[in-house]
């Protein structure tokens, strides 16, 4: 996405000020969202989410691993986002690394909880198998297929949908639950259990252009972004993470204002999203 001419910049800024953006949306309107789940058969759970022209895919792979140091009763979770060169020519080679890293950081901040694992999107103790020895590690991999702004929000929705879609295989411990020897398992892929996703947040990014801020920015609008605040909110309306992007400074009162607006939006937006995810889940991928 290249830059815009001075005339376009003033047109878009005028539209945001008048609460009528280039595609007819108001400042607090989202673009149409489509969610498809179960798109990658090899993964434990996956989802593809399109927000307007933005297209992202997320897979969740559950692997057997060892618990993090100092937290023997916890499982692990990691997030990695990649920007595909199909999304934009700039992403070719190492070009997308900076953006990938920024997105990964933003999501980690919102989904992984504190250093002791509390406050994570998924209750990490539900991933334990043998304390101190073995647990589930959820590898969340995101891929940006097409970029038309608002990547972080789209990725958070896709992660939520992919986690909903995830089934953990049933594990039976054959030997070595206690004692020093290494434990042995039988993994039964036929039977699987769902994760508790009631605390998984979604991210609402408010982008500020001029005096106003708005949700779901397109790539064109993001080009003029002075600053943006991404707020992760879960179903209860609790703030799980805040990320500020863009170089321009923000007054603390504005930030507080933006956070409360994001919270309000999320409270009405999340139930609608949950319905859409449930609808996507009910579609049989084989039919």
């Amino acid at each position: 996405m290249g830059a815009l001419s001075a005339a376009e910049v003033s047109y878009i800024e005028g539209g945001i000020a008048q609460n009528l953006r280039s595609d007819g949306r108001g400042r607090l309107d989202f673009r149409n969202i489509s969610i498809v789940t179960g798109v990658i058969p090899q993964a434990s759970g996956s989802a593809r989410c399109k927000v307007g022209g933005t297209d992202v895919m997320v897979s969740v792979k559950a692997e057997l691993g060892s618990p993090p140091k100092g937290r023997p009763t916890h499982g692990g979770m990691m997030i990695k986002i990649e920007c595909s060169p199909t999304a934009a020519p700039e992403f070719e080679g190492r070009g997308g690394e900076e953006l990938s890293l920024e997105l990964t950081r933003g999501l980690e901040r919102s989904f992984l909880g504190g250093p002791n694992g509390s406050g994570a999107a998924i209750d990490l103790s539900s991933l334990r198998i043998v304390d101190g020895k073995t647990c589930w590690v959820l590898c969340i991999d995101g891929l940006v297929l097409s970029s038309d702004g608002n990547l972080l929000d789209a990725l958070s929705i896709a992660i939520k949908a992919a986690l909903t879609n995830t089934g953990l295989p049933k594990v039976e411990i054959v030997a070595g639950e206690t004692g020093d020897e290494d434990p042995e398992f039988e993994v039964d892929d036929e039977e699987s259990s769902q994760l508790d996703i009631s605390n998984v947040p979604i991210i609402i990014t408010l982008t500020k252009v001029g005096k106003h801020y708005f949700v779901d920015a397109t790539a064109e609008e993001e080009l003029q972004m002075k600053s943006a605040v991404s707020v992760a909110v879960n179903r209860k309306g609790v703030i799980c993470g805040v990320t500020k992007r863009g170089g321009d400074g923000l007054d603390p009162s504005v930030i507080i204002d933006m956070i409360s607006v994001a919270q309000q939006i999320a409270l009405t937006y999340i139930p609608a999203l949950d319905l859409q995810i449930a609808a996507a889940e009910s579609v049989d991928p084989d039919s």
């Binding site: 290249g2 830059a3 815009l4 001419s5 001075a6 005339a7 376009e8 003033s10 047109y11 878009i12 005028g14 539209g15 000020a17 008048q18 009528l20 953006r21 280039s22 595609d23 007819g24 949306r25 108001g26 309107d29 673009r31 149409n32 969202i33 489509s34 399109k50 307007g52 022209g53 609808a279």
Partner: protein, 310 residues
């Protein structure tokens, strides 16, 4: 641009509309249109010349691209539908300046190569004659700078695929007070007129043959102020009076009409845009809901119905 996400009910309705559209097109549709690998029927006895988009495989001529079969005497070729812009002399195009240097601007017009706009091929502000001096070349940024959107006409095509533009008329030049919508170039047919003034709406429309469509507020007053007239310096944008809300709403509605037509793959002409615009008003669709699945499907059904009547 791809269409919106459709649920099962919409899926059914759109499939039905597409079937109707196909029937309305008649039998010629199946013969003229080929996919990659389809056999193109040719007269082997009289002989033929194979053109672009074809490849002979074991006595048969196969298509290598999806598109429309074109025959000129013995030459058989396939014109791809989804391709970059193929310029022709005299086309009106909308493009974005990518580079300023030497005595020319480079302009991205969605073609295989950036087009060139020579300093000698533009009207200087005030219509003064250009004296070929170095100062002239140093002042090129007063006219167009990088990322500026301009309208221009294709002056000439060259052997190596490059093309030259000119803006030697008052109607060409820098664009402002509006928005750009991109569609596939094949959706825009070459017409006598590519500049349209929708008088009742107070909106100007430029249908670039390269698939770039510029929709802007009508420029006030007389010819001097046609879109992209001589007041072209970057500073002219600053301090401009803001657009009226009603005009902006109409621009957005028109822009979304174009987007929906583009997503449906329907031809884009002033008529089709206005019909879509009026349909959206008739059905009382808010501007922001024009990109929804519902409007998309409804429009396809309307189009199918219309073609069946013909």
């Amino acid at each position: 641009m791809s269409g919106p996400h459709l649920d099962a009910d919409h899926e059914l309705r759109i499939a039905k509309a597409q079937r109707l559209l196909r029937d309305a097109a008649g039998g010629m549709h199946s013969r003229a249109f080929v996919n990659v690998g389809d056999v193109i029927p040719v007269d082997h006895e009289a002989g033929y010349l194979r053109g672009h988009g074809t490849q002979p495989v074991k006595e048969e001529l196969l298509a290598t691209v999806c598109g429309v079969v074109e025959r000129v005497n013995k030459l058989v070729s396939v014109r791809p539908l989804r391709a970059r812009y193929n310029a022709e002399t005299g086309d009106v195009v909308v493009g974005r300046v990518t580079e300023v240097g030497g005595n020319r601007w480079k302009v991205d017009v969605n073609s295989r190569k950036d087009a060139e706009l020579l300093l000698a091929a533009v009207n200087l502000p005030g219509g003064i004659q250009r004296r070929r001096t170095a100062i002239d070349e140093l002042n090129m940024r007063d006219l167009y700078v990088e990322n500026d959107l301009i309208s221009a006409e294709v002056q000439s095509l060259h052997q190596d695929g490059s093309l030259h533009l000119h803006t030697r008329s008052l109607k060409y030049g820098k664009l402002r007070n509006g928005q750009l919508v991109r569609v596939a170039p094949y959706l825009i047919k070459r017409l006598k007129q590519h500049f349209h003034q929708l008088k009742d709406l107070g909106v100007d429309l430029i249908l670039g043959c390269n698939g770039f469509i510029w929709i802007s507020a009508a420029s006030p007053g007389n010819k001097d102020n046609l879109p992209g007239s001589v007041a072209t310096s970057a500073s002219a944008v600053v301090g401009e009076s803001p657009l009226q809300f009603e005009v902006r709403e109409r621009i957005c509605r028109l822009a979304n009409s174009v987007r929906v037509l583009g997503a449906l793959g329907l031809l884009i002409s002033p008529d089709s845009i206005m019909q879509t615009y009026e349909a959206s008003l008739l059905w009382e669709v808010p501007v922001k809901d024009m990109l929804s699945a519902d409007f998309y499907v409804k429009l396809a059904e309307k189009e199918a119905e219309q073609r069946m009547k013909r």
